[in-house]
């Protein structure tokens, strides 16, 4: 996901200033994704360059807007936004999972207590899950938009813990079994099977 689409979405219901967009973005995502104002204006500049937004009709400058203009979404911007909402997010487009890579390396490198790595991670993720649950508990019914964001993080943390449980069970099952010889013949075998 990009800030770009977030800003386009917020511009749907009328022209806005940068600081306004930043405030609304954080309100919608429950401040789980803080933006700095610089990011907002850089993104707006790029959107303007690509013809997705344009400066809105000039208005009297105020002290708050710092001499900057209001932005409004263009027709191309609305098309881009509609496309974004219609396209599912693929897992491949997300950044690589550092934790999975860390565990894989912990297994590959001698002298690392993988069980301890798993347990530490589990308790740390559990702590985040508790904090997220507290956020949810203290939210009011009107804040549905950011409740959704918090729920997404809650389910993500839960999935990570379940995956850690699974890894641990796998490790236990494989403990003591000697490592198999490297399977150098995998690729030729597959080719044979296909031909």
């Amino acid at each position: 996901m990009s800030i770009k689409h977030g800003l386009l979405a917020l511009l749907q219901d009328g022209p806005k200033y940068g600081y306004q967009l930043r405030g609304e973005f954080e309100a919608a995502t429950g401040a789980t994704w803080p933006l700095n104002i610089g990011q907002v204006y850089t993104t707006l500049t790029r959107l303007e360059r690509d013809g997705l937004v344009q400066a809105a009709a000039a208005r009297a400058a105020t002290v708050e807007d710092d001499g900057r203009s209001m932005y409004e979404i263009t027709g191309a911007g609305r098309d881009e936004l509609a496309k974004w909402f219609e396209t599912p997010v693929t897992r491949e487009s997300r950044p690589r999972d550092e934790l999975a890579i860390k565990l894989a390396l912990a297994l590959a490198v001698p002298g690392v207590d993988v069980g301890a790595v798993v347990q530490r991670q589990r308790m740390s993720t559990m702590q985040s899950l508790q904090e997220l649950t507290r956020l949810k508990r203290n939210s009011s019914d009107g804040e549905i938009s950011w409740q959704l964001v918090v729920e997404s993080m809650i389910f993500g943390a839960e999935a990570e813990i379940r995956w850690l449980d699974h890894c641990e069970a796998m490790l236990l099952r494989h403990r003591g079994t000697p490592r198999p010889a490297p399977r150098t013949s995998v690729v030729p075998d597959e080719q044979e099977a296909r031909s």
Binding site: Q119, R122, M123, S124, T125, M126, Q127, L129, Q130, L132, T133, R137, I154, F155, A157, E158, I161, R162, D165, E168, A169
Partner: protein
């Protein structure tokens, strides 16, 4: 402390066949605190809960509930303490089908000698607190899973309960109903100063607790959540 478990050990069988369900577990629960116990199957979670509730006798160690060491009390005294001070919530609700919601909630009070009118009043008040006093005269079979679990929670906190023990209370419920039940358990602990122990294998459920402890092979191997304050540590000794 509402619950103070020290060096709790539970061994089934003897000699080479001995199974060590719990090995030297320490756990405290303060008033208003909810502690979740997690761990894989066979890690000792349920044994910990049954020992805490006086349903099982430990092989060694102490289980102190509201100042009473269950391991030194007679069977009758443990049973009385269980009726008055300890409430249970199970996965399968354990309600008596032939009794109405109010009768189910009033039962532990009546067993303990409370007059039935007084018990009924307390039961309806407890049902009101969990938001289903309008269902007081309904039978469990005519209720949804979430409603039944609310009755079970009302039964677990009715009267002067100090310790609430819950074993997979959301196991038979869908995710949203389960969450409402956890919210309720959490609120009961906060508002009544009841100490709660929640046994679960679900991380999302456990996250409602103030503290989460992790059991493996009968030993506590991890803890998440705020650590007890230094003075609370001194107090418990």
């Amino acid at each position: 402390m509402i619950l103070d478990i020290r060096n709790l050990t539970r061994t089934h069988g003897q000699g080479e066949q001995a199974v060590h369900a719990l090995r030297g577990v320490d756990l405290t629960v303060a008033p208003g605190e909810l502690v979740a116990v997690m761990g894989p199957s066979g890690s000792g979670k349920s044994t910990l809960l049954t020992c805490a509730g006086g349903l099982d006798r430990p092989t060694a160690g102490e289980v102190i509930v509201d100042g009473n060491d269950l391991t030194t009390l007679s069977r009758n005294a443990v049973a009385a303490l269980r009726r008055r001070r300890i409430g249970y919530v199970f996965q399968d609700f354990n309600l008596i089908p032939a009794l109405t919601a109010a009768e189910n909630v009033a039962l532990p009070l009546e067993l303990d000698g409370t007059r039935s009118r007084t018990a009924r009043k307390a039961a309806v008040a407890a049902l009101q607190e969990v938001g289903i006093d309008d269902l007081a005269d309904r039978f469990p079979d005519d209720m949804s899973g979430g409603q039944r679990q609310r009755v079970a929670i009302a039964r677990a906190v009715v009267g002067e309960r100090r310790l609430l023990l819950a074993d997979e209370p959301t196991g038979a419920l869908d995710s949203e109903t389960g969450e409402a039940v956890l919210r309720l358990l959490r609120d009961r602990c906060d508002q009544h100063g009841i100490g709660g122990v929640l046994v679960t294998h679900g991380a999302r459920d456990a996250a409602w607790a103030d503290r989460v402890v992790y059991l493996r092979d009968g030993v506590l191997v991890g803890q998440a959540g705020p650590l007890p304050e230094a003075d609370a540590l001194l107090e418990s000794r």
